[in-house]
């Protein structure tokens, strides 16, 4: 199924991704601390990544070996080389690695959930690094009235900001007495749309507004309902014990309020961090499946 997922692939030898997998782990997103030796640099995403997580629990050296035109060896070595900038991330076809790994898994007789999880974690880190190189530059939607790039000391100082505030306050007062009609709601026309005036971030803001509205609705209805993280966490663990695995998005959807859904989401992150559960996203932005880890430590931290 060719999908938007295959943009994770390298510009090189691509094929549709079938199961680009990633472990949902709180250590992966941008909250990564700068690596002790990698930090002194240009601030690029590669230098800022801390790869200690995979390094401290490396894949079994006897295990899966990656074979690419420009690299051969275990995945943790590959990550190390990328971090040291010995290997260019854009030359690494993530989809190929993933596909071959899945084929390799298929040949094994016994699954080792930990080993697989480590691989997935590293794959996630790879994807993260790569996504950083793909992120957009600022889109200029309108002409600037001041030069765009500036360092902190070129920002307009605070005393002058205060002067502007006074000015804006007067203008606001003036305008407050003038009324315009609210926008007419125009129905959508048939035919092709031309989206030149809609930016990517309009889309994000639209979703933001949506979440906000939903939040307002639920806040009205369920005001006063207290949900503790501890309760929600036990609830998740119970559900996992009963059902074996749960589809986490479905689980979030089933929550009565956005607040509950957010709490459930935090709980999931906590449980992953405590290594009590394991979450696997079968495809990026696809369903997240959650399992109880068999060797789960009795959870004592909240």
């Amino acid at each position: 199924m060719p999908d938007s997922d295959d943009i994770l692939d390298a510009p090189g030898p691509t094929a549709p991704v079938d199961g680009a997998s990633a472990v949902l782990d709180p250590a992966v997103p941008s909250s990564m601390p700068a690596g002790s030796e990698g930090a002194g640099g240009d601030g690029s995403a590669v230098a800022a990544l801390d790869l200690t997580a995979p390094a401290s629990a490396p894949v079994d050296p006897e295990g899966y070996q990656i074979r690419l035109r420009n690299f051969e060896g275990p995945l943790d070595l590959l990550l190390f080389l990328i971090k040291k900038k010995k290997v260019e991330i854009n030359d690494i076809p993530i989809a190929v690695i993933t596909r071959e790994y899945l084929a390799y898994l298929g040949q094994l007789e016994k699954m080792d959930i930990d080993r697989e999880a480590e691989f997935l974690l590293m794959a996630a880190v790879l994807i993260y690094i790569k996504s950083q190189t793909l992120l957009p530059r600022e889109q200029v939607l309108e002409p600037d009235f001041e030069p765009k790039q500036r360092s902190i000391d070129h920002l307009l100082p605070y005393d002058r900001i205060k002067a502007v505030v006074e000015l804006l306050r007067d203008k606001e007062e003036e305008q407050a007495q003038i009324w315009q009609r609210s926008a007419l709601t125009a129905p959508l026309p048939d035919g092709d749309l031309d989206l030149v005036e809609v930016s990517l971030f309009d889309l994000a803001e639209s979703f933001f507004a949506l979440m906000k509205r939903k939040q307002a609705e639920t806040a009205r209805v369920f005001k006063g309902k207290e949900i503790s993280m501890a309760d929600k966490m036990s609830e998740i663990v119970e559900a996992l014990k009963a059902q074996g695995a749960i589809d986490f998005l479905d689980y979030l959807w089933a929550q009565e309020t956005l607040e509950e859904a957010l709490i459930a989401f935090f709980c999931l992150l906590e449980l992953i961090k405590a290594r009590a559960v394991m979450a696997v996203q079968e495809q990026l932005f696809h369903t997240i499946k959650v399992w109880l880890r068999k060797d789960a430590p009795e959870k004592d931290e909240s």
């Binding site: 749309l193 005036e197 930016s199 639209s206």
Partner: protein
């Protein structure tokens, strides 16, 4: 004071989102007599009807409303055509964002997020190839699943769906608003 009353009515009719009814006018202006209001309304309508303005006051749905005179229809239609061509409606944008952040997602799920039915917007988005049907959900009724398309990415100048501000970033904004 009829001159002033007339002017007030003009402002009220202009600003009202729906056709402004007599009942509503009386609520807003309890101190004016019904006869005065009627008289002022009549004169206001006559003034616009006889004047050279491009807009006039008409009755619609039991209330008064400003509208453009029929002579300007071709231009008005042209403008609306141009405006609409350039913009997705807020509705469609909402549905699109709900899909972008939750894909693959079913129509009932989208409806649950938005709190209103989304079938019209969904249809428009499908027709414009911004979304596609990507399968069925393994759930009662096996509803269709929707995803954004490559055309969606191209339209928004995206390389990947991750380039949108993340749900985490949005969530953070939400939380800050509540504190």
């Amino acid at each position: 004071m009829t001159e002033n009353l007339k002017s007030v009515l003009e402002a009220l009719i202009f600003i009202s989102v729906e056709p402004l009814t007599i009942e509503r006018i009386k609520e807003v202006l309890p101190e004016d007599s019904e006869a005065d209001i009627d008289e002022a309304l009549r004169r206001l309508i006559d003034d616009y009807a006889e004047g050279t303005q491009a807009i006039h006051i008409t009755r619609a749905a039991g209330g008064y409303v400003f509208s453009t005179k029929p002579a300007h229809d071709p231009h008005v239609r042209r403008l609306l055509q141009i405006e609409r061509r350039k913009k997705l409606s807020g509705q469609a944008l909402e549905v699109l964002s709900a899909i972008a952040y939750n894909q693959p997602v079913t129509q009932p799920e989208i409806a649950a997020i938005r709190g209103v039915d989304s079938s019209h917007a969904l249809h428009t988005l499908l027709e414009n190839n911004l979304i596609k049907i990507s399968g069925r959900k393994e759930a009662p009724g096996r509803p269709l699943l929707y995803r954004t398309t490559d055309k969606f990415l191209a339209y928004f100048g995206l390389n990947a769906i991750e380039e949108l501000p993340s749900a985490d970033e949005l969530k953070k904004l939400l939380e800050e608003g509540n504190s």
